[in-house]
């Protein structure tokens, strides 16, 4: 490749400058919308529509509109910002990071990379086959697959907004800890015989890393795609979750859950798991509901268990994983993760 001449460099610089200006403009518009959302609904519902803001129904509608707008704004902003930074982080690269590392390091890395790598659950099977066929240990592969739905940017943004940073940090630590612990347990056992044979027979090939550093405009393009993809996937969950949360806020008596699912009721953690596992939702749908349960007095650990059980384990996932795992391993996987989730609940109920 020949060095670019001066006349070629100038337009590129001008383009970059233009792009930065556009990005700043978008950021200002975003902040403006965020500020507007803080005040707009009082005016729209109370002023323009002349509704009584103190009535229970209007208050629930207000809560719903405000929260949905705020969460969607936060998600769009954060996913875009994160998308700019992680353009080159893909499962195909993660695999090369994990190969040949000592087990403890590979488990820790798998959990963290599972959390930060953009990844849609529809890719879990190709990812599983790709990792295992290339020789990544089963335990390490499971650590990635457990961490990915539990800890991700959507969960973190929504937890921080609704529960505050302490609970968010605790949740992230518990989610990563769970992924590492379950991965370690699986690595102690010989599970290969319970993986469908075709997985090991799958051809392995690697996509050559071209060592190309993405330009700003490529980063912006990728971040836009990622934001559309992720927000396009979760917005329905946000609306559903906040609507149910608003219902719980408005109509369930205060301290209702404190009576039935307070910290001194260990059975509540088990019940939360049993209810949470068959429920199928992304983190975006369950967090607003969990926040409402928490506000009505459900113990922190029990809420945590409910969120994790809903997000990490589900029937569709069971059906999906059945394609690569034989029934005993599938049962072991669900059992171990469910036990881990309950352990997290008991631990948090004891601490908080």
């Amino acid at each position: 490749m020949t060095a670019p001449t001066r006349s070629e460099v100038q337009p590129v610089r001008r383009q970059t400058a233009q792009l930065i200006a556009v990005l700043i403009g978008v950021a200002v518009a975003w902040a403006g919308l965020f500020a507007l959302n803080e005040v707009a609904w009082d005016t729209v519902l109370g002023g323009w529509m002349g509704l009584d803001l103190s009535s229970r129904v209007v208050d629930a509608v207000h809560f719903f509109l405000y929260d949905v707008s705020k969460i969607l704004l936060l998600l769009v902003g954060m996913i875009f910002a994160i998308g700019l930074l992680r353009t080159t982080l893909r499962p195909e690269r993660v695999r090369t990071f994990l190969e040949g590392k000592p087990l403890w390091l590979a488990l820790g890395m798998a959990a963290v990379l599972g959390a930060v790598t953009p990844f849609c659950s529809c890719s879990s099977i190709p990812l599983f086959i790709g990792f295992v066929a290339a020789g990544v240990p089963l335990g390490v592969t499971f650590a990635f697959l457990i961490a990915s739905p539990l800890v991700n940017e959507v969960a973190v943004v929504m937890l921080a907004d609704m529960f505050g940073w302490q609970i968010t940090v605790a949740y992230v630590a518990a989610g990563l800890g769970l992924a590492v612990a379950a991965g370690w347990v699986f690595s102690r056992m010989r599970l290969e015989r319970w993986v469908e044979d075709f997985v090991f027979a799958a051809p392995v090939s690697r996509l050559g890393a071209d060592g190309h550093r993405p330009t700003l405009s490529e980063r912006v393009g990728a971040a836009r795609e990622e934001t559309t993809d992720i927000v396009g996937r979760v917005w329905r969950w946000v609306i559903l979750g906040v609507a149910l949360g608003a219902g719980i806020h408005g109509w369930v008596p205060t301290e209702f859950f404190a009576t039935y699912a307070g910290p001194d009721n260990p059975l509540a953690v088990v019940v939360a798991t049993v209810i949470g596992v068959p429920l199928y939702s992304s983190a975006a749908g369950v967090i607003p509901i969990a926040e409402a349960l928490w506000a009505k007095g459900m113990a922190t650990g029990t809420v945590m268990t409910f969120m994790m059980a809903t997000v990490a384990l589900s029937i569709p996932e069971l059906v999906l994983l059945r394609r690569v795992l034989k029934v005993p391993l599938l049962g072991l996987f669900f059992g171990t993760v469910a036990a881990g989730i309950m352990a997290v609940g008991f631990l948090f109920n004891a601490v908080f």
Binding site: P126, L127, I129, F131, A202, S205, L207, E225
Partner: protein, 80 residues
């Protein structure tokens, strides 16, 4: 030109197929489109994040849903 869409049939794969058809029609190139839904075959291309786009045996894109314009650019550069 043989174009393969890698993906088990999720929403993203359907979208990729649609934008690829659009791009092919726009460019007016002679291309055959084929869907690869078998997981082992998808992984065989080195792709773990679906959907993926393969042109004449070469993976040109994976793990994202591009715009029709982007696919057009890729295909145009390969036919050129």
């Amino acid at each position: 030109m043989l174009i393969k869409i890698l993906g088990p049939g999720c929403r993203n794969c359907v979208t990729l197929e649609r934008v690829t058809r659009e791009a092919v029609a726009d460019l007016g190139i002679d291309a055959e489109l084929e869907k690869v839904t078998d997981y082992a075959a998808i992984v065989g291309y080195g792709v773990m994040s679906t959907p993926g786009l393969v042109v004449d045996g070469e993976v040109v894109l994976y793990g994202r849903v591009p715009t029709a314009a982007h696919v057009r650019e890729i295909l145009a550069s390969l036919t050129g």
